[in-house]
Every structure is written in structure tokens, then in C-alpha cells.
Symmetry: C2
Subunit: 351 residues, 2 copies
Amino acid sequence: MSWEEKVRKVEPYVPGEQPKFSDMVKLNTNECPYPPSPMVEQELKLINEQEFRLYPDNEASELVHALAAYYHTDSNRVFVGVGSDDVLAQVFLTFFTNGQPLLFPEITYSFYEVWANLYKIPYKKLPLTEDWHLDGFTNPADQVGGIIFANPNAPTGIYEPVSYVEEVVKAHPDCVVVADEAYVDFGGESALPLTEKYDNLLVVQTFSKSRAMAGMRIGFAIGNEKLISYLKAVKYSINSYTMNTTSIRLGLAAVRDDAYFKTIVGKIVETREWFKKEMAALGFTFPDSMTNFVFVRHNRVSGKELYELLRTQNIFVRHFNDPLIDDYLRITIGTREQMERLLDFLRVYLG
Amino acid sequence: MSWEEKVRKVEPYVPGEQPKFSDMVKLNTNECPYPPSPMVEQELKLINEQEFRLYPDNEASELVHALAAYYHTDSNRVFVGVGSDDVLAQVFLTFFTNGQPLLFPEITYSFYEVWANLYKIPYKKLPLTEDWHLDGFTNPADQVGGIIFANPNAPTGIYEPVSYVEEVVKAHPDCVVVADEAYVDFGGESALPLTEKYDNLLVVQTFSKSRAMAGMRIGFAIGNEKLISYLKAVKYSINSYTMNTTSIRLGLAAVRDDAYFKTIVGKIVETREWFKKEMAALGFTFPDSMTNFVFVRHNRVSGKELYELLRTQNIFVRHFNDPLIDDYLRITIGTREQMERLLDFLRVYLG
């Protein structure tokens, strides 16, 4: 075998593009249109570069404690990582590499399939219902290696009630069930309380959307102490120090400003509901989103075509080259002004 | 199988402790005793928290370009990660999971064995020579899955010349060879130029030691474009955005200030050479270190005993519970004042 034949070869996830134009309307990667809390600004000013010569706290204790306090749980039930993608990658390696098939929805966050392939995890994609709700996860089944779903789901935006999550966990006591709640703050109710009742449920969230901190790379998982300790053992077998000094300090500041967090989330939800009405009036159809994006289609223009057209206007939205959903566009909810600019263009183009 | 039987169970790496006492002398995790470049301080002041709402550049291009320019190479030959541990974990997964045994030294960075176990990579530890030089790596051998060694080696501090690295690579054209050069800036010559000549050699370095940025978590690998692209495919199959906004910006500032970098490295080397003489005068023996630490033993007091004793003085050094080296202590080179405080204590205790 040559050295090249000995290499692990994978097809990576393709993230949304990160264009940098001064006049662009960036609605393609579900970032928050508002800056982080003013407390983050204050904390940033207090950071002294002299600290950087030392390793950070490998347990990121201050951030972990702040999250535990915020979610009324114990610190040993909280795990943090470099964005929820880092947390999820470690979740896949820790809980799903047992040889039995992992279950996830046919339409969902496309990174799940990439992680499964990377770690050679067999998997089954469960088709959604006709109206795109999760389906089949509540059926008891033997020989299931694990379950993961996004709730609300992406890119559909559809939310399943906590009672559904509980049914899934009840039907699968013999594997770890992961609820990826990246978008839950925009209207859903978290399954976090269920982690007190079920040992095998892990809830994953992120600072990249509702907490306006995509640039700082912070994600976390909450579950029973045993789940978290297995996850920590894998984390400490990969990289002792994942969270750098600034992400610990600034993440902590963001968690502490709950009033600001609720204000910006409230504004995004308000904009989303108004935007839905405007889009419906233009003839767009879409599932009822509980996230900071809307997944839309129009029967007179293809998703791909509209995506290209919007690019010419410096308006960036997300299009997926997947035959199941290629009629659709995923549009992040930005500021009211950004959405107006998009709507103005669509009104002229379609009208 | 219960959910717990389906979990991947591992024995993690145990990093050196990170005590936080105001009056301590911290010589246990090979950090730099000097702060990062004043250009890092300036850049920190220019960071605007408004940027944090957006994802960072997933390619960390500015940092990658700066490293490429510094090392006179192309950007597509550079890979960055969250400390060299993050880089190395991805190197193990990408290049060493081919089923054939990985070779590394019997005494070396103990994380190699942890990564091998995590990814279920078979391995052979090659014993060092009697005077602790690398041995056996230049022997041609079939069925080798990969090779990794630290040069200078840790915790011995011993450096092998670039000609030795070249012999290793020549003897093993059919697997990837990784030179972990975390400490090379303190007196060694890097094998980087060899990566232009050999496709299967990868060199890994870090900002945590000579660049005084352990807290920012920045490491990098340089090798031929094909090696780097395989590594990137795995990276993009784990986490699209690993380097946060601050690590990209501040890492860039650190690379740009070459004069400062050379000044602090020069001071550390000077302190090390003086410290070696003082320790020899006290009856300590040690290999000739080319790093920012010295690996010492004394025939009148055990490593463990001395470690405990120094702790009572708020002086932290590293002791390893490995029968091959448990007589030794690894002592980081701090400031001259820190080393004086250690020496003062040792003079009284031993004298």
C-alpha cells in the first residue's frame, strides 16, 4: 500500500459561503442580525493579553458554571465545545460508533450524514411525513445504535413538541437519543427537563444563533452526569484545551445578560412572523417555522434560479443541491430593514 | 445491549494541572514566561464585538496566509487548528486509521498513545537508545501504518538533526511520517524544508510555547498540498469553523512580530543554558535539552518526593507516573527570577 492508500478519505460538509461585501444582505447561514450583549463588549475590554501566555482552564469552568446556573442544573451535567458542531462530532464518536445503525431524519442538518461517514457509522434515514414532520422515531426497534434529530428541524423549521421527544426516548431506552436544539430559543420549548428523567437523552444547543456569537464558536450539551462524563473522556482524548481564553470569558458574559438575550430573540420572532405574512402575500409557501429562518418555495420560480438572482442583488440566501428540497430556499431572518430589501426585490421581480 | 454498552469508553490524556495562585511559580506545562507580542495587545484593542455575530472565516485565511508567508511556502500547504493537539488528533484520524501499526517512541508525548487508543489504531512503541535518542525509525519495515515522533522529544528535550528525520522518511516512503516540532524554536532546526522534497512528511508546530499564546489555542501543520487537502477534508467533516474570530486575528498579529518572537526565544534559551549549569552544580543530571524545559533527576531525592516538596513552596513542576521516567522532573524554563526562586530552595534543601 502507498501512503496515499492508507489515508482516510471523506466527503466533507459544505458550509454556507461567508462572503464579505460591505453592502450585502447576508441571510444564508442563520446568524443573528444583532450584535452580542453589551456585556460582551465590556468583558472584551477587560481581557488582558498577558493572560494568553497561559493555557486556559481546560474545564472552561466559569462558562460551564454559568450555563448550569442559567439552566438550573448541575455543572457536571454540562459539556462545552467549539460550537455545537464540535460537540456533535464528539457525540457521534462517543455514542454512535457501536456498529448498530444510527437513525436520523431524511431531511435534516446535512452534517449528520457527514459525521456518520467520517466515523464509519452505519445509518438509516427515516423519511418525514408528507407535511415534513418527524416520523418513525417513536416506533420501538431493536438494534438501534443511536438517534439524532434537530428540533426544530433544519432546514424545514418545523418544531415537534416535547411530548414527541419523550415518546422517542421511551421507545428507545437502549441507545442514546440526541435532540439538537440549535434553534429552540426562537419559539420551541426545550427538552432539557426530560434529561432529569431519562439517562439516555442528551440536548445540544449553540451560541451561534440566538446568542449572537457565531464568531466565538461556543456550543454545549446537557444530559445526565454519566453521559457527560463519557463525552468528557472522549474530549480529553482529543484535545485537553478546546475553549480559548476569549471564548470562555465572552461566552460567560453573553449567558449573564438574559434580558438582552430575550430582547433580541423577541425581535427576531416578531420579524419572522411579519415576514411570513409578506411572503405568503407574494405567493410563497413554507412550513410554519419556529426558528430564525424560513424555508420557502414559489411555484413560478425555481429555488436555484431565485438564489442566483438574489446573488446578483448582493442578497445571500441558502440553496441546497438535494433533489428532495431543491425547489426551496432557506432564508435567515435578519433585521426588518434587511427583509424589506429582499421583499422589495421580490415584489418587483414577481409582480 | 444497554445504551451504556454502546458507548465508546476511553482513558483520556491527563494534562498538567493549571493552579491559579497569585504567588506561584508555574513551571509545569511549558508555557512561555513572557507575554505575547505588543502587536497582539494592539490587535486585541481593535477587535469589535459586533463581528462576533457572524461566523469566522472557515479557512482562517488571514492566519494561514501569514504562516505561509513566514515559512516561505504556499497557503495550500498550511493547515491550522485549535492548538497542535487538535491538529494532531485530526492527523491521527486522517493518516493513521488504516489498520497497520503506528510507530512512536516509547518515551515521548503521552498523548500519542491516547489518540491511538481513541481511534483504535494498533501501535508499536520503539524503545529509545540508552542515552534516550530515537531509535529504530530509520529501519525500513513493511506494514507500517504511520510514524510520529516529537523532535525535540518530550519530556527528554533531546533533538535529532534534520538528517535523521530525512533518513526516517526515506526508510518509510509508504506511510505518512509526522514530525511534531512543538519545541523546535528553542534551538532545533525545523524539518520544514524536507516537506518540499518528500510528499509524505508532515511537520506540526504550535503557538503555545515559543509564541506565548497557549491561551488562544493555535497550532498548525505544513506539508505537501495533497496531505493538507486530505487533512482539510477530515477537518470539514468534523467542524466547519474551528478557529474563532479572536484566535485568527490575534494569531496573525503574533506571527507578524518576528523581532519580538526572536527576542523572547533568545531570552528563554539564555536562561536555559544558565539554569543547566546551576542544576549541574547542584548534582542534577539531565539530557541536553533543546526545548523550553529541562528533564532532571537527582540521585539523592526521588522525582515524586521533590515534586511534592516543591508544591509546598508553591513551585509547580511536572512529574510523570511512568516507571521508565518516574525518577525525573520536567521543569519549564521560566524567567530568570522564577528559576532563581527554585534554585534558592534546592540549594537550601540539598545543601
